[in-house]
Symmetry: C2
Subunit: 334 residues, 2 copies
DNA sequence: GTGAAAGCGCTAACAA
DNA sequence: TTGTTAGCGCTTTCAC
């Protein structure tokens, strides 16, 4: 049978309370007693039952993480940062994804109602935001990783869409590129929208407004990149650069540019956002606005941990800076 | 304050035991009583405390998953399969990774000792196998996702390294390619070793043994692919195909082939294993031995769930079939 | 400094 | 069918 605190107490000749005190460092304990207890703990290989501890203490030492899906490279990167940070703060981590829509979310919500964890980290809440906000209102500490603004109860960690897009735009301008194609996101508010808006602002300010015909819809897939270039080419559009909202669409763009016989970067320079996956492995390697995804995850986890520790949390959103990684898709190496 | 079973019992005019019976469907309960209890449960919005339930029942309803890291695309895919499957079997999922080595593992082991979960799924145990085996020996239900054989206590789910490599080899032979370069794995037993061995066996059987000079070391990175091709080219090696052990190294191979002026697939056909990430987005798109990673994860999770339900588990390893996805890197479209 | 006792919120025998 | 009574294994007052 499992070794319990009672076994330890008996063998050490003390009460359970004393064992608990020694193990948790609460209250004063005689040095000799403490040493004896610790010896017995080691002898017996005693480890407190997580179940019993959490019931008695009223907290689990576990945090929940709700992510859209793990298969998108950038999310996996963020998750890794979260995992590492949670591990070092000594928290367990329960993972939930929303790949199966409402059903997934209901199951997740059930665990919230059952108080299965002490705090919650949500990556890209999107349409679940109202429900998550309700959880926060009910007293659950919540931290968000999102580019959208959120309610007042929830700290938000974001990466700089606007400043990152500005970096990309300025890089292209510095290279003398004045006619970019821009790949937007799906309809509705979206991080891609913000990126594109910031990007075109910079071009406009520089005296090179981006025409409506140069905007193409995107959905973060390689296919959307292929379609955009193919259409632009068919329309006979003049362009010397392409700004993509993520790695995947940029890969599609590269494929199609090659297909229609435009060389990169000579004829067309390509820049993308994220840098989460294989940007260094495309042909040519992609210049990218690098989002420090692991840092973003780690930072959000740190904030949640300090919220749980009662150390206080930031009241405004934290923005993690992006940086531009220049590769061959914009500048051919010497 | 939180609503407890006592509140429900009081309000419904029954004992806590009856409420518990109604909620868990155990034992006979009067239909009218049950209905009344359920109404009160709904009125009060009562949800049993996960902490209390797990202490009383002696199990948590949670399974642990130990993965090497989330940042490798194939692992993220497998994880998604695991998450989906665990969700549908009603289990919670505690995630652990081994990115920080011994320290990570110690933390994980601590949770095991604390009985924080009922069962364990390990992805690529590698050097932790002995420790994991000990956990299984101590009574923890364990399922492995691994290409290496494991102890008798742990069911293993694998994908067909040998049959997959055979598919790749036969495909190249059918295309008339007789001089492949092969990219191996790091030293020691490794899935790449098995893939390469099977691949070269097929060529040998067909009368085209692969020479020692055609073997290059690899480590799953794009860089190793670049290096291999660059060396082969410098050596003046004759080759008309390259077999890579994963997507990333294949991307490096494509980059370097272009760099040295060999066209794909005309001069050199390229095939890789995994198909976990961006294979459709390279230039040209990569022909790949597709591993159904989500299925692998889901299957392993299913086995673990049935082990926890006491439904019995397979006593031998399960192999999930791969299939060859032909793209432009071996066959130029018409 | 330490022990006794009362919970934490539920489940599961055993009676009734 | 239902209630009573013990736990599950720990933490935490409150006395001593």
């Amino acid at each position: 049978m499992r070794v319990t605190i009672a076994h330890v107490a008996l063998r050490a000749g003390v009460s359970k309370a004393t064992v608990s005190r020694v193990l948790n460092g609460k209250g004063e304990t005689d040095a000799a007693t403490a040493a004896r207890v610790r010896r017995v703990v080691k002898e017996l290989g005693y480890v407190p039952s997580a179940r019993a501890v959490s019931l008695a203490r009223g907290r689990t030492g576990v945090v929940g993480v709700l992510a859209p899906a793990l298969t998108r490279p950038w999310i996996a990167q963020v998750m890794q940062g979260v995992v590492d940070s949670m591990e070092s703060s000594g928290h367990g981590l329960m993972l939930f994804t929303r790949t199966r829509g409402d059903d997934s979310f209901r199951r997740f919500a059930g665990q919230v109602d059952a108080n299965a964890f002490d705090g919650l980290l949500v990556i890209e809440p999107e349409e679940t935001l109202p429900a998550v906000d309700r959880m926060a209102a009910a007293g659950l500490p919540v931290v968000l990783i999102s580019d959208r603004p959120a309610g007042p109860r929830m700290p938000v960690v974001a990466s700089g869409n606007r400043s990152g897009a500005r970096q990309a735009a300025e890089h292209l301008l510095a290279l003398g590129r004045h006619r970019p194609l821009v790949l937007g996101g799906p309809d509705g508010y979206d991080c891609a929208t913000e990126r594109v808006a910031s990007f075109t602002d910079v071009f406009a300010e520089a005296g090179f407004p981006v025409s409506a015909e140069a905007h193409f819809p995107g959905d973060y897939t390689g296919e959307s990149g292929r379609v955009a270039v193919s259409r632009a080419d068919a329309d006979g559009a003049q362009f010397d650069a392409v700004f993509c909202h993520n790695d995947l669409s940029a890969s599609g763009v590269l494929q199609m540019l090659e297909h229609v016989g435009r060389s990169v970067p000579e004829d067309v320079a390509v820049v993308c956002f994220d840098d989460a996956g294989h940007t260094a492995l495309t042909a040519p390697p992609l210049t990218a606005v690098h989002r420090p995804l692991r840092d973003i995850g780690a930072e959000a986890a740190r904030i949640l941990a300090s919220a749980l520790a009662g150390t206080g949390v930031p009241d405004k959103s934290i923005e993690i800076a992006t940086d531009l990684v220049v590769r061959d898709s914009t500048v051919r190496p010497a």
